[in-house]
Symmetry: C2
């Protein structure tokens, strides 16, 4: 099983079009300490031939161009991208669907709630339903988005997308709005949770023992945006648990057995994006990796599944 | 007045994510004869400080990054982009709105029909109407999207966007679905017409005498896509007049007085995208320029407006 982080930033990317927070300012200036990062997305494959995209960011065209295994390979029209799976309806996870048009066949997997939000907006019909099957997935029901690649959606504390929020949205709700995905193939397990408002006991149990966890690194502290002066919302209000603090992801997941811990979906205001910064070092000292675009994890078949080969 | 071609390709860009037509194949291979091109968009400014985007392509984040005058300049949040004008509702002209979020103020100008299509899809509310005023523009009514920059929308033969097509869409209709824009400032006039199904006498009269015309170069011949084997639609069916032929844009506009003639919105199947190709040479020999991303036209104040300065 392979995963490629196509986009490691949260909505807006790094730099964000209208932002001059300290991290974006370095990025605009071309400072080598801040790599530009595109918006959140992951590619997953069992065999390196057929690929699943988890979420479709607005930057998907640029991400495909930067990723040779996702280029078309044969004939006049082709794509190794055979399926797309959505973990929520946030615009930075669905707007890339508008690029995946041109009558190319693939399967679009999501919960009923997320598919419903898409169906209610006719503009998504540019992804022609006659070519792109919209496949409703039940929580906790394992399915195969690609042959031999098993996936299970599980609910995590979250919220509805910003564009569907009412006057007083419920934060931290557990349901079909925001999900994580557990991938399994050849004895390996990888969990992908790009958005999560709180580390629940359920989540801790689920990710215990995985080969890799790619997890929501949107904010370092709950008040990142407020302190940076660019917004009034806390991480909680946006549906994102902080990295630091007693209830943060580092502390709350410290006791879990996890092969590789990787922060993804990192907001442009987060100082861990600056190479060599104190905040980056502190995070790395706890065993976490800060993802960048193109970060690839490659898992061979689990050793304890290899039989008849004592060497 | 300045214009920058932010994106010179039609929908899908060059290369298109799932295409291996001859032009895209060269682009995927990194052949220097085919520059990668992003999807259709233009930036216009009178003073080089405040900018108007004409259409917002899915590639707008990448286009802003590549265009220093569009980077934020001051404070924590800022953008020189003060207005966006839509010439139709095609996905390659509106999906970039999903990137222009984050509570940044600007004015969104379009006809009532195009604004109606947007209003009917709640997902466009990510561009918060509380920050982004949606301003309805009447055909033929001159307005100022930026101070001192005058714009007039005029109808051209076209069709509704693909995602709003019914079973048997009318092609070549003249109304609010597809418009051209005439810009005027400091005695200069520039016409931008990225989509046009047919060269009407009205269009020929309008563009006669302009300093520059940036015009629909989607297809070289009406059957480009069919000959390339990648589609079944003619240029006409897609709402695009061919470049060549007795009714093509080169022939039909040959008698007009036009300072600079530039093809934009060029589909990936169009062989004029290949540098040094016979097709490119033939087009250039008629006085037309094939646009590339970043092509900048700069017009000083019209000489016949400069008074009291005989030198």
């Amino acid at each position: 099983m392979q995963t490629i982080v196509l986009g490691s930033a949260a909505g807006g990317g790094v730099p964000q079009w209208n932002c001059r927070c300290p991290v974006c300012s370095l990025a605009w200036a071309g400072d080598p300490r801040v790599r530009p990062r595109t918006q959140s997305g992951l590619a997953v494959s069992r065999d390196g031939e057929a690929w699943l995209l988890v979420n479709a960011s607005p930057d998907i065209r640029q991400q495909i161009a930067a990723t040779p295994v996702l280029h078309p390979r044969s004939g006049l029209r082709h794509s190794p991208i055979q399926a797309v799976l959505l973990t929520n309806g946030d615009i930075d996870h669905v707007a890339g669907l508008f690029t995946l048009r041109e009558n190319q066949r693939f399967d679009l997997f999501a919960t009923a709630e997320i598919l419903g939000a898409i169906a209610a907006n006719r503009v998504f019909d540019v992804v022609n339903p006659a070519c792109v099957a919209r496949r409703e997935v039940q929580l906790e029901a394992t399915f195969e988005p690609l042959p031999g690649l098993r996936a299970t959606l599980f609910p995590v504390p979250g919220k509805v997308p910003l564009w569907l929020e009412g006057a007083d949205p419920v934060i931290g709700m557990v349901g079909e709005s925001t999900v994580g995905v557990m991938f399994e193939a050849d004895g390996r397990r990888i969990a992908y949770v790009p958005g999560c408002a709180r580390i629940s006991d359920d989540l801790r149990q689920r990710v215990d023992g995985v080969d890799a966890l790619l997890f929501d690194g949107t904010v370092l502290e709950d008040d990142d945006l407020i302190r940076a002066g660019v917004g009034v919302k806390t991480g909680w209000r946006m549906g994102h648990v902080p990295i630091n603090g007693a209830n943060g992801s580092i502390a709350k997941l410290a006791d879990c057995h996890i092969g590789q811990r990787v922060f993804v979906h990192i907001n442009n205001t987060n100082p861990i994006l600056v190479d060599h910064s104190a905040e980056r070092r502190q995070v790395e000292e706890t065993g976490w990796t800060v993802a960048y675009d193109g970060l690839t994890l490659h898992f061979a078949t689990s050793a304890n599944l290899v039989k008849g080969n004592p060497e």
